[in-house]
Amino acid sequence: MSVAPADDAPRAPLSQRVQSVRPQQVPGTLGATVTVTVDGQNLPVPLGTTILEAARQLGIRIPTLCYHEDLCVAGVCRICVVEVEGQATLQAACAYPITAPLVIQPHSRKVRRARRHILDLMLAEHYGDCYACFRNGNCELQSLAKEYGVDEFRFGHVTAPRYPVDRSSYAVVRDMNKCILCRRCVRTCIDLQEVGVLEAVGRGDRTRIATFLDKPLGEVVCINCGQCINRCPTGALRANDPTDEVWNAIDHPTRHVVIQTAPSPRAAIGECFGCEPGTALTFQLNTALRQCGFDRVFDTNFTADLTIIEEGTELLLRLRQALQDKQPVALPLFTSCSPGWVKYLEHFYPEMIPHLSSAKSPQQMFGAVIKTYYARMHDLDPAQIVTVALMPCSAKKFECNRPEMCSSGYKDIDYGLTTRELAQMIQEAGIHLPDLTPSDFDDPFGTATGSGVIFGATGGVMEAAIRSVIELVCGVRIESIFEHADVLPVRGFEGVKYAELDLPAIGPVPPLLAGLFTDWSWLAGARLKVGVCHGTANAHKVLEDIKAGGPFSQCHFIEFMACPGGCLGGGGQPIPTSPAIRAARARAIYAEDTAYEVRKSHENPAIARLYGEFFKDGPGSPLCHELLHTHYTPRGKYIV
């Protein structure tokens, strides 16, 4: 069953969209195809196909800048103009739906000249030095300049910055001097994320992208998701880069520098080294990190498993309160591992914060465990430990700086690195990642499970939770319900997913949870209802459905991820991004899951040891709450 509770209409202004022609609106052409001729080649296409789509099908390249596969069409940069026979002006290929037979010249003299002029104009307005820019070598403007043989600034070139660089945000740095006003970020923020902190203001050549009242990005309702960075064609948007500080820690004589790597970056970092999307380099990365000088390399999956136990326990406690004690309790429970999502909720639905699981994200849990349990175990001074997290995410940079994230007395995580930043460090260290010999993670957290890996894909947290909750409660093997333990109903890239699941039986309470529960009788015959969504626009739909008393209000547990596709599409991942690239990364992640011997969080022996040796009172105990759980801030939309 799938539910799309709210309307699907994109919210970007209509001028920013191609208003594709609905076939029934052209009488007599219902479902018809038309023939388009591009550069002499004929192609029948369904009515409403754009010229760009048709050309791509024919393998003809038309340059684009404002167009992005994930976004509604803007038609503003005009670099994609083509000549349409019979029309006096050139037409934007990305924004022109074909409704009649057309003959198109994609590269005529007029077209080439206009494109070059458009590029010249963009470069005239663009202030930036390629060799001092993080997009050097991966910049759409730069590569078009090369493609069109730009060898001089025919219409001049700005020689001084016009705007100060906004570094106010923990996550995103905005340098509007490099902005070409393609508005991909605007459309990303409002359409894909339904946050809407960016908008074009001013007219004519004073047009620029601004925040509400020109407030610094750190002071507006930005959720730090970084999706705008991933879609910006230039270096105008980038993540707040702590690489220098991390090198300093590594080079420091007494610091013990520990890095954890999350599954999504491992499935994507190869892209920064020329590998095909979907090339997992998890174990080569371990080798590279040691060569870079990190003292220990751990797997975030370990605390992903820990999250499942803590969050699963919280779910069971809330369910008991509702089903057995008949007490009011905030259900459905919302996942809390995506910091972009958490901030979205804090801003836009502060009244729903009680639904949010109090469990910290795996990144933060790991930090807390390292600076307590691990430090004690190895007799290390936590003040000398520097914790670095390799994450696919820019919001993680904000999360690790939240003031409440230091309950051990030390910052759980000192630095969050994105996939892109770590790739840069590896390159700087002279390492070609794909060539390295694989090596394993370090003990004592070496062992991970497949459940932790799939956290990287939308539906993964839910799948991991289902695997564990079913086994812990029902006393049956998950494989007896889902072949190979693949919980397919919660997988896939559909924006909003809903699934129901009967508990097949009631088993004995496992020793791990014996401190909290005596029996599961109150769950007998229960039907577990869960939801999954990714991208905050979809989160918005689900939350509105809950408020309206729709099907999601009846759910027990809902997974929310701020980024489209889940973490694998995070704002710190390699650029570019597209549905195909994200699908390839997902394949890599699910393949890694299948390769693990242990695929269920509760079967992770290192987790059992952690509870046995450190969190001795079991999941949900006071010490767990002190170190592994957190609280939230109702932020609202007020701007000071």
Binding site: L14, S15, Q19, R78, H117
Partner: protein
Amino acid sequence: MSVSIRTPLTFRDVPPGVGLEAALALKRPAVIATLRAADLRGRGGAGFPTATKWNLAAAAQSKTKYVVCNADEGEPGTFKDRVILNHFPDLVLDGMLIGGYAIGARKGLIYLRGEYTYLRAPLEGILARRRQERRLGRAILGKKGFDFDIEIRMGAGAYVCGEETALIESLEGQRGEPRNRPPFPVDTGFQDQPTIVNNVETLAWVACIFAKGADWFRALGTAKSRGLKIFSVTGDCERPGIYEYPMGLTVGELMQRVGGEGAKAVQIGGAAGRCVPAALFDRTIAFEDIPTGGSIIVFGPQRDMLQVAKNFMEFFVEESCGQCTPCRAGTRKLLGGLELLENGRCSIEYLSELCRLGESISLASKCGLGQSSPKAFLSIIRHFRDELLGRPAPATS
């Protein structure tokens, strides 16, 4: 703000309501057929055949459709819509009703230029009066099933909001930025519904055509530009003001009538139009030759054409919506070229490159504003090259 009306106006001879009654007596397709017979082309500047526009909207499958009267009149040098709305508002409203009847719309919107706010109260009064006369509201003139009402919305002073899709964006409460076309408003207009957008004057002529007959209109003007046209004449002439003539008169004839015989050039079509030098005054004002939405600006012999060109370019730099690259950044570069010329520092080579850039701006811009922005620049450079080039550099102080 008194304006001299220098010729008799046909609108004075057509009493309100006559055209509307005649049109409502016809079946809907016959209304469009009459317009086609009259061969009326839009008076807003682009000259699109009105019957074709209405027919597309009539054929569009939708229960909800809209008629929009474009009263944004932002083109420099034009004020004829203001005069029409001031003196003959009922003809314009009749035209909107006829449009609503022809395409099957129940709602009309007047997008009134912000600077014309003073016209709003009188227009509201007329709308109220018409509701009482059953010339607005339910069952117009007793015709069952034809309900139509009109609302006035104010613009906020952006020239680009006269462009029909930007106008619609503005009506919807968005930033006034032109949309991608196709689809056109006749298919996907206001609130995604089929919408006809027509100029004030076009709508007034519609009422006249039904009052006086398609043949009367068709007999005037040229084969490709039928009928009469209102001109707003300003600049270096003896008798500026409002004129009505059949389409197809020559620039020279017009100059004689307005007392601008000695003119060195005439800007026809406002900032978006082109500059016609005296040598070409035998050219005709018509869609097939030199089109205009009505703006005629006369330049006397003493005018510095470089300043004229600069003035128009400054206008576009200011009024570009900033959405697309060629217009946003290109108009700035053209203006920069004129500033160089002013200081005697523009090489012939750079000027040629700017002219080619101008052509690219015309070709690649998203909307009519950008597409027409280089026209004045290019025509002035073409016709007044000697006057522009070779200026001495100003003394450095």
